[in-house]
């Protein structure tokens, strides 16, 4: 590596770090600006706001974000008059700072830009959809639709351009979609893609077996025919590149034999699990509460305690009735083993045991536990949290916000005139609309947000750390994105709109889940009353739900 390479490399890394921290930086400035707008900013934090803008104006340009730098510099200049500014001027500036924060908080542009210009390891962060076309109007639509669903889509004009652009030396997250009259792909490109682990999807005008066979020969992951069902394509791409990283299984070992426990722990950790050991059964309940394991490995014979009794006692707690318990014991007597299983255990491992066997028994059971838990928590049609789980998540968020003195917003969303969609286009098409909105919510909201299907066409979202203004912007953004989606039914194109009501922690003295739901619902009804395709934040003067009810057409 030459000295110049080292310089370039160091600068690249520094830029990457800068970009990674940027969302947190601008989010903080947004918070300060908001407080300033409400005249609740002391001089020290006002100074912090000025200084924050000043820093960005000096640093953004160094890292290639000239636009950001110029805007920050302009705002810093404007804000310098400080507390003396009149109300209107202040409001405008607050809005501008919020807009800047919003843009750099949610924009993935900077990630995309860093990939293009720097070719850093960050390439793997966002999966890319490459859309290879021979040109034409319908492909423009596809490009737009895919972007609406939140994908990063790069367009490639023709095979030659694709061969130049898609050169990989290592694994890459992404999908190549070929939208052509017929199935075709060069062998060299197919090989390069397969090395990088990039799946290929064909969209063809020709609906025959020969085309499918050709696609299979080229190793395609899927084959679609025009006219295209975009929702199906979106779901497939999701399945191909979606986030499948599973959290490691969590295993708690309760055994008084330290040497043995540590050996088991080591074996399970090497198999990729998270493992904790507790040697004193007195602490069992506490450890379960804290660690929340997927599975408990429980010794049967411990001084003063019997594992079978412990298991039976655990089953008295509703919370732990479903926890898989696997006994560890030297007990070889079959009858006594059966008795132990009777008392609430799920399996029996006789010591000494091979590490390989231990890992496989534990993994199978933990996996089943996870799947059950997911099934219980998720809505079948959309994969979002179900009614019960989203309400639990809301209750948990209320507790957290009280404890940490943090803020959050809750949103009730509903598809406008959904009954008409079902009546006009059938329930299958209605389900497509519901799934499209679910997908939009999943991809457009942040990873820390929680989204659930609350009822038929009603959704509920929890946005931690987000106050009402931010939630309103977020919802309006979603509202516009949803209205822009086009659905097709037997050649007819239609679109839908949504309305949303928001309740935020700043509305209430004490935080209760029921109150959030009630107020968000009340605001939603007000939004419906205001003509739909509308977002309203709850406030005290909203009409009660019963007054706002507008017949059954939601």
């Amino acid at each position: 590596m030459t000295a110049k390479d080292r310089v370039v490399e160091t600068l690249k890394l520094q830029r990457q770090r800068y970009l990674e921290r940027l969302p947190a930086t601008v989010a903080y400035l947004g918070e300060l600006a908001r407080a300033w707008g409400r005249e609740r900013l002391d001089s020290e934090r006002f100074e912090a706001l000025k200084q924050g803008l000043h820093r960005i104006s000096g640093s953004a340009g160094i890292f290639g974000l000239e636009d950001l730098g110029h805007e920050a510099s302009r705002l810093e200049e404007a804000i310098r008059g400080g507390q003396a500014l009149d109300d209107d001027a202040r409001t405008v500036l607050v809005q501008d700072v919020l807009a800047l924060a919003e843009r750099w908080l949610n924009s993935t542009e900077h990630l995309a830009a860093s990939v293009r210009t720097l070719d850093t390891p960050a390439q793997g962060i966002m999966p890319t959809i490459w859309l290879l076309t021979d040109a034409g109007a319908s492909e423009q639509n596809l490009l737009r639709s895919l972007r609406q669903y939140g994908f990063i889509v790069k367009r490639l004009d023709g095979l030659k351009a694709a061969e130049e652009a898609l050169v990989f030396t290592e694994a890459r997250q992404g999908v190549l979609v070929l939208d052509n009259e017929r199935v075709k792909l060069s062998v060299a490109l197919a090989e390069s893609l397969s090395t990088a682990g990039v799946p290929v999807v064909f969209i063809s005008l020709q609906d025959d077996f020969t085309s499918r066979l050709e696609a299979a020969r080229l190793g395609a992951a899927a084959f679609f025919v025009r006219p295209l069902n975009v929702m199906k394509l979106v779901e497939l791409i999701d399945a191909l590149v979606g986030d499948h990283t599973e959290e490691a299984y969590r295993i708690l070992i309760v055994d008084d034999d330290e040497m043995l426990s540590l050996r088991y722990q080591q074996a399970l950790i090497e198999a990729g699990m998270r493992v904790e050991v507790e040697m004193n059964p007195v602490n069992l309940l506490l450890r379960l509460e804290e660690f929340r394991p997927d599975l408990l490995l429980l010794d049967i014979h411990m001084p003063g305690y019997n594992g079978v009794e412990l298991a039976a006692a655990l089953r008295y707690y509703d919370e732990w009735t479903g926890l898989p318990i696997v006994y560890l014991s030297a007990e070889a007597n079959r009858d006594r083993q059966l008795h132990a299983l009777d008392q609430g255990g799920d399996d029996f491992i006789t010591k000494p045991i091979s590490e390989k066997y231990l890992v496989s028994v534990v993994r199978v059971r933990a996996e089943r536990m996870r799947r059950l838990a997911n099934l219980r928590a998720c809505d079948g049609l959309t994969g979002l949290l179900n009614h019960v789980s989203i309400k639990e998540a809301l209750a948990a968020e209320c507790l957290r916000a009280e404890r940490e003195k943090s803020s959050f917003s809750a949103v009730m969303l509903d598809i406008d005139y959904f009954k008409q969609v079902n009546d006009t286009y059938g329930h299958a098409r209605g389900d497509t609309v519901i799934r499209a909105l679910a997908h939009l919510l999943k991809t457009r909201l942040r990873g820390t947000d929680k989204v659930g299907r609350y009822g038929g066409e009603e959704f509920f979202a929890i946005l931690p750390g987000c106050q009402k203004e931010g939630a309103e912007r977020q919802c309006n953004w979603l509202r516009e994105a949803f209205a822009a989606l086009e659905f097709e039914h037997e050649g007819e194109v239609f679109s839908c709109t949504l309305s949303a009501g928001i309740a935020s922690s700043e509305d209430f003295e004490r935080l209760h889940a029921d109150q959030f739901i009630e107020c968000a619902d009340q605001a939603l009804y007000a939004a419906k009353g205001a003509g739909r395709n509308y977002v309203i934040g709850w406030h005290r003067n909203l009409p009660l739900r019963s007054d706002a009810r507008l017949g059954t057409a939601r």
Binding site: T10, Q14, I62
Partner: protein, 129 residues
């Protein structure tokens, strides 16, 4: 003429500090001492005996001008040329900073590939004139 070797650089923003350090050390081949605050600079500058001092203007605690005033009280550094670096460089401000005793004002953002050359040319300008 003595060649520019040792530069004392005071900057509170870590991102900019790292980039500037790379720009001065790796690109420019200079010997750089980096301080993250004015206080640190006042405590450690004399031992480093810099040829040139580069100060960020806006820093929490001791800002650039205050740091400059403090440095001037250290006899060994009373005549060491000082440059300011800041994000907003308007002619009136440049004049103001120069009246405080700075030899020049550099603007942020800077180009990391050129920063060292800029310093060197200011340095030789001082000695030619």
């Amino acid at each position: 003429m003595m060649e520019l070797e040792r530069v004392l650089y005071v900057e509170d923003d870590e991102d900019i500090r790292v980039v500037a350090q790379v720009a001065l050390e790796m690109v420019g081949g200079l010997n750089v001492k980096v301080c993250s605050s004015g206080d640190q600079a006042l405590a450690e500058a004399q031992a480093f005996a810099p040829h040139l001092i580069l100060l960020d203007v806006m820093m929490p605690g001791l800002d650039g001008p205050m740091t400059l005033a403090g440095l001037r009280k250290i006899p060994a550094l009373a005549n060491t040329p000082v440059l300011f670096m800041t994000a907003k460089v308007q002619p009136s401000e440049v004049a103001h900073y120069k009246s405080l005793g700075a030899v020049d004002v550099l603007s942020k953002p800077f180009d990391p590939m050129c920063l060292a050359d800029q310093l060197k040319s200011i340095w030789s300008g001082l000695h030619d004139g």
